[in-house]
Amino acid sequence: MTISLEMFVLFIAITLGITYWASRRSAGAAAYFAASRQIKGWQNGIAVAGDYMSAASFLGIAGIIAFQGYDGFLYSVGWLVAYLTVLLVIAEPLRNAGKYTMADVLAYRLKPLPVRGMAALSTLTVSTFYMIAQMVGAGALVKLLLGGYVTFNQSVIGVGILMIVYVVFGGMLATTWVQIIKAILLMAGTILLSFLVMAHFHFSFSEFFGAVSQVTYHDATGASVVKDFLTPGLRYKPPYGPLDLISLGLALVFGTAGLPHILVRFYTVPDAKTARHSVVWAMVLIGSFYIMTTFLGFGAATIVGPDFIKAHGGNNMSAPLLAQALAGNVFFAFISAIAFATILAVVAGLTISATTSFSHDFWTNVIHSGKERNPGEEVLVARISAFVVGAVAIGIAIVLGPTANVAFLVGLAFAVAASANLPVIVLSIFWKRFNTAGAVTGLGIGLLASIGLILISPSIMGIDPPTVTGAARHLIQAKAIFPLENPGILSIPLGFIGAILGTLLSHEPSSQEKFNELLVRSNTGLGAEKATAQ
């Protein structure tokens, strides 16, 4: 596996070089938080794709399709379609009216202190959940990919330190380029892998889907079974499966447009039109990638086989093992390095959005009522909080350990984004009557409902047989009270209801005074933040 190690080191060297270059161009807040708003549309589109397509999608979805067939492909669909909400509803108003964070838009006509405080809390919650999931996954994965060279803890610390270095020294500019390189690598690897899968089936779709229709493996009881992997229902079984699927779809369609690390990307471009074009670029890349998960997942199921994958690292190893089966160790190393790059790009994006929100929303605007006490303080605080966020993420990932079941944290992040963030952003732009109390109750109830429902869902509650040990056991050994893994179907309406009731039950004429200003700003771009010269 020395080739894997060499490719990892090469990627690290290139990204550190970029960080050094970016660090010399990151003076000033607009440069540090928003890359001086000079990122081009296509560049930002690629970076959005790089920020979004996590190891969970690259390795995770390939794995779910390899084991559960068609139902895994349903994930792929939702991850792309969700961008229509970003494109039609969120990207342009956000770019027109905001500065660095989503709270900028809320604070326009609402009372800045409570709104920014709650928005920062929600942003930090989403980013932290998402990051812990990535870090635990990263630790296990890097250990597996480097085959014995490093331990779980060393992997977690390594990934954590790299992400801190990118963000502290390189700011948004370095993060952007790490995401761009990662997205290009990911696309290249996926295209190559898909090509090799089709070559294996002599470029005949009927041969390919023929093999997919009869995948042979051993089920949990040890019996040999043959299944048509194109048949729906292998994962989502009645009675609650279909409802869970709809709930997941809701969280994706409404949550993606509320993910702080995606939203901050739209501040890095010069104007709303460029933001729009970057969403379209992102959709082309993300859509092409998720269509190709057909070849990755079904390829792994037919060429490698679920039995072999289970015996060699499980679910997440489907894509790398497929690479190995098709083109040997060098290609395995290449795909592994891409997985590594994928993790780093996503955690760097999460870190910068968390630190931007902490420093801009919480430190400058809540604690110090909108004024920097010393010039450059906002950036300094962001750099310090990047250290803290990174250290905390490393710590939590190590405490949880490699066997912790953290996949649900990604779902939770989407649920919070969909139930807390999206309702208040949408209502503040489109509903004149909306006010501070509504925003605070909306954010609060959306946040609490998502977390509360997850706590009583099958992700946390369940009765394990005694053979399941340690962190893999359910935290609460009792039958789940809420039957769905995805809380969106209930928590999103609750978030909206909270925001609407909070508004109707309170009186705040001042929030309506600046509605016209926000309406004009967000729809025309009049007075929007402009790109800064370097």
């Binding site: 003076a27 509803v89 269509i291 010039p375 200003e517 771009g525 009049l526 007075g527």
Partner: protein
């Protein structure tokens, strides 16, 4: 640090500032009302269409799996083709939006020019 301040002072460009009455005037002006109406005519139906089209997938697959397993071309079934169609429909809507948005840009350009020349929204 000293460097940082100077840098941000030099590079921060001037932006439009308006009083409450200027914003209200623009918001109530004819060109702005036209812009909003044009936007709504595209965005609202497009949003409703994609939500309905997308959620038809989990609903059909979840509640009519037998029907969706009907094989259409060789081994490829309705469920897979419908899922695949989602990608192309999403791209199509995005493409149509970009085309419609050129219109929005044209309308808002007029509003921007008038406002920045200090004539308000009329």
């Amino acid at each position: 640090m000293g460097n940082t301040i100077r840098n941000s002072e030099i590079t921060e460009p001037k932006r439009f500032e308006g009083t409450k009455s200027t914003w209200d005037e623009i918001a109530e002006s004819r060109p702005f009302q036209d812009l909003m109406a044009t936007k709504k005519t595209f965005i609202v139906p497009a949003f409703i269409f994609f939500v309905v089209y997308y959620f038809a997938l989990p609903v059909l697959v979840g509640y009519a799996p037998q029907f969706m397993s009907t094989k259409v071309i060789g081994n490829v079934n309705l469920a897979y083709l419908f899922a695949l169609s989602q990608f192309f429909v999403a791209w199509l809507i995005a493409g149509l939006y970009v085309r419609a948005a050129n219109n929005f840009d044209r309308l808002s350009q007029d509003i921007l020019e008038k406002a920045e020349n200090g004539k308000g929204g009329k």
